[in-house]
């Protein structure tokens, strides 16, 4: 099993006609993702490398029965694209686009919670989600992850996710699903959503959670783990040495007013019984020990 995404998920790409969307759409298709096509209001009836273009997500759903969308459109168009996907009844909406205004994110996050509770939003500014061997939505290089579990991975950072799943693969450890929740201030899906799903997934036996500075998502996850997660969790938090008040690349990665430090996050996680590695390699080693003893 996997969480949120598997080989039966039918995905439409909003922004498939753009160069980035086309590039990753092709890579995702080659990986085996069940892609039904893309959307463009003026290019319906055409195709991108054999993938049909529909006028809208609603049209794509009517024609193909798709239930998920991946968004590659530029930042000004993201709010409209997310709402279009939700209105069309998509169960999973993955927003790869970076640079979406925080007020847009806060707005569509709350709009979805209120009016489209069955739509799961992932991102914006995330690498996507991969259930190795089954499907891959987004910009993760599929071959760096070994299929089959037993580890579920959730991370705020793209490259650190890649680093983590690759290190696991090098140790011959598989991944059920790897979810990149993204580095923005209002992620559609958070650590707790993923922890709950991994806890419920019988194939996932252990969880790797990669955090970074800023906000309090790791602290909230720690509390959740303490109360609800029975499976072993290994964590790494990036940004121990980040100076306060500076955004470290990600819009959400900032220590402000003494809040959101890596040290506080690691303390909270340790307190919840999580094994914390001081760097990605150490976290990988800790996970290898756990998997060996499963």
């Amino acid at each position: 099993m996997a969480i949120f995404l598997d080989e039966t998920t039918k995905v439409v790409y909003q922004g498939l006609t753009g160069s980035t969307g086309r590039y990753y759409g092709n890579l995702n298709r080659e990986y085996g993702t069940n892609i039904v096509g893309g959307t463009h209001p003026k290019k319906a009836g055409t195709d991108v490398d054999g993938m049909p273009i529909f006028a809208s997500v609603a049209d794509a759903k009517a024609e193909t029965g798709c239930n998920a969308s991946c968004i590659f459109v530029p930042p000004p168009a993201v709010k409209g694209a997310v709402m279009e996907a939700a209105e069309a009844g998509m169960e999973l909406v993955v927003v790869i686009t970076e640079g979406v205004p925080a007020h847009d994110e806060a707005w569509f996050y709350n709009k979805l919670v209120a009016d489209y509770p069955d739509t799961r939003l992932l991102g914006p500014n995330c690498p996507g989600i991969i259930s190795p061997g089954k499907a891959n939505i987004g910009i993760t290089a599929g071959h760096i992850a070994k299929a089959g579990g037993p580890v579920g991975v959730v991370s705020r950072s793209g490259t650190l996710t890649y680093q983590a799943v690759y290190e696991l693969k090098e140790k011959d450890i598989g991944v059920t699903t790897s979810v990149g929740i993204g580095g923005d201030p209002v992620p559609g899906t958070n650590f707790i959503d993923c922890l709950a799903a991994f806890e419920a997934d019988p194939e996932t036996k252990a969880i790797m959670m990669i955090g970074e500075i800023g906000g309090s998502a790791e602290e909230e996850a720690a509390e959740y783990i303490k109360a609800n997660v029975t499976k072993p969790v290994v964590s790494y938090v990036a940004g121990v040495t980040a100076p306060p008040g500076k955004k470290m690349g990600h819009a959400g990665a900032i220590v402000s007013g003494g809040k959101g430090t890596a040290a506080a996050k690691m303390d909270a996680l340790r307190d919840a019984g999580v094994q914390v590695g001081l760097n990605p390699t150490e976290a990988g080693d800790l996970m290898a020990e756990i998997v060996k003893n499963l």
Binding site: P101, I139, A141, L160, K246, G249, N279
Partner: protein
């Protein structure tokens, strides 16, 4: 993007909020001319992107023109927490009966907008939050619903503002929320929001941070790019479109991806070194980007060794290697480089780099060993 107080006041004024007339001055003479035009008494206020100006002597009352001259000459050039004052705001002085605090920002945990209002203004809100948390009235606003007048009245009542301040505050707080949302601000803060002896509520200070991601909606925000506080290295990197944060160590760091770049700093620290910077070159690592990054690092006189940490995902190892080799042809690098290259087609990339290895370019198999190598090179 952080605005200076005077820019914040211009921003607030666009949304109809009451601010005092004033003028910006870059020299003592300009300050005097501004005060003469406005008419004494005036305030002379340092314009810097940091708090605690008052305590540092950066905000002074001037009863007459001589006092303006004296204060402006003291304040211009003043060092406030590492920020050198280059401009002062000359503003018509206001009589103050009471000082309040008001702000809006995003509560990432609640995923709603958070408004904070307090009767205890004029001091740092963090201090109030610590010493008298009950003095801060909070309101969470659903962005879809917006801020309704009834909510504002309840919020003001919860903050115990006096009757005389209620109507003026209702007006200003609604406009502050509109400015925050329509203006795509990360944060808007008025401290202090004052009540004058005449019973008028007035905006006496403005702290505004705008969302850089919203410039496509607000082309006029590009003007603020020029007034951001950046050190020379940050300015050079910014001009090349690189995600760079200057630090004070000696190991220059280049990595792909914000998370990996942060992690690289951590590892350099763990092995006893000090990073000179955070630099994320993003997903691609082509020769242009790599050359630009190396140039920025090379111009930092504190850098004694460079650690390039690349994990190829979609970007393939041979492309990364090609980028590094090409970049090194274009830029003459003063410090030795240690590379760690992993991920997609890493072996091919390593094979390509092999003939170029020597004292100037070294390769290590892991992040940790590469950090150790770079740090040992700094120690000499």
């Amino acid at each position: 993007m952080d605005l200076f107080e005077y820019q914040g006041k211009e921003f607030f004024a666009q949304y109809g909020m009451p601010v005092s007339p004033g003028k910006i001055a870059f020299s003592v003479d300009e300050a005097v001319a501004a005060a003469e035009e406005l008419g004494a008494p005036v305030m002379v206020k340092a314009q810097v992107h940091t708090g605690g100006r008052g305590k540092a002597g950066g905000v002074k009352f001037a009863a007459d023109i001589d006092a303006v001259r004296e204060h402006a000459s003291n304040i211009l050039g003043l060092d406030i927490k590492g920020h050198i004052v280059q401009r002062v705001w000359i503003e018509k002085a206001s009589d103050i009966a009471e000082e309040y605090y008001a702000s809006f920002t995003l509560d990432r945990s609640a995923k709603k907008h958070l408004g904070m209002l307090s009767k205890e203004g004029g001091v740092e809100i963090e201090t109030v939050a610590e010493e008298n948390p009950d003095a801060i009235a909070k309101i969470w606003v659903d962005p879809v619903v917006g801020l309704r007048e009834d909510d504002v009245r309840g919020w003001i009542a919860a903050a115990n503002l006096p009757d005389a301040a209620v109507e003026g505050s209702v007006d200003i707080l609604q406009k502050l929320y509109t400015a925050y949302v329509d203006g795509d601000a990360d944060m808007v803060e008025i401290n202090p929001l004052i009540l004058t002896p005449e019973g008028v509520v007035h905006v006496l200070d403005a702290k505004v941070t705008l969302d850089g991601n919203s410039v496509f909606r607000h082309p006029d925000y590009e003007q603020y790019d020029a007034t951001q506080t950046r050190d020379e290295r940050e300015a050079a990197a910014h001009a090349k479109g690189l995600q760079y944060v200057g630090l004070d160590g000696s190991v220059g760091v280049i990595a792909n991806g914000a998370g990996l770049a942060m992690s690289t700093l951590d590892v350099v620290n763990q092995v006893g070194g000090k990073p000179a910077n955070f630099l994320d070159i993003g997903g691609g690592a082509n020769a242009d980007v790599m050359a630009g990054a190396l140039e920025v690092i090379n111009n930092d006189p504190n850098v004694k060794a460079i650690f390039i940490n690349i994990f190829g995902g979609i970007t393939r190892g041979e492309e990364v290697a090609e980028g590094i080799i090409e970049a090194m042809k274009r830029v003459t690098i003063d410090s030795p480089i240690v590379i760690r290259l992993d991920g997609t087609n890493a072996q091919q990339g390593r094979d390509m780099l092999a003939p170029h290895l020597g004292d100037a370019l070294m390769m290590e198999p892991t992040m940790l060993s590469a950090a150790e190598k770079a740090v040992s090179l700094v120690a000499g």
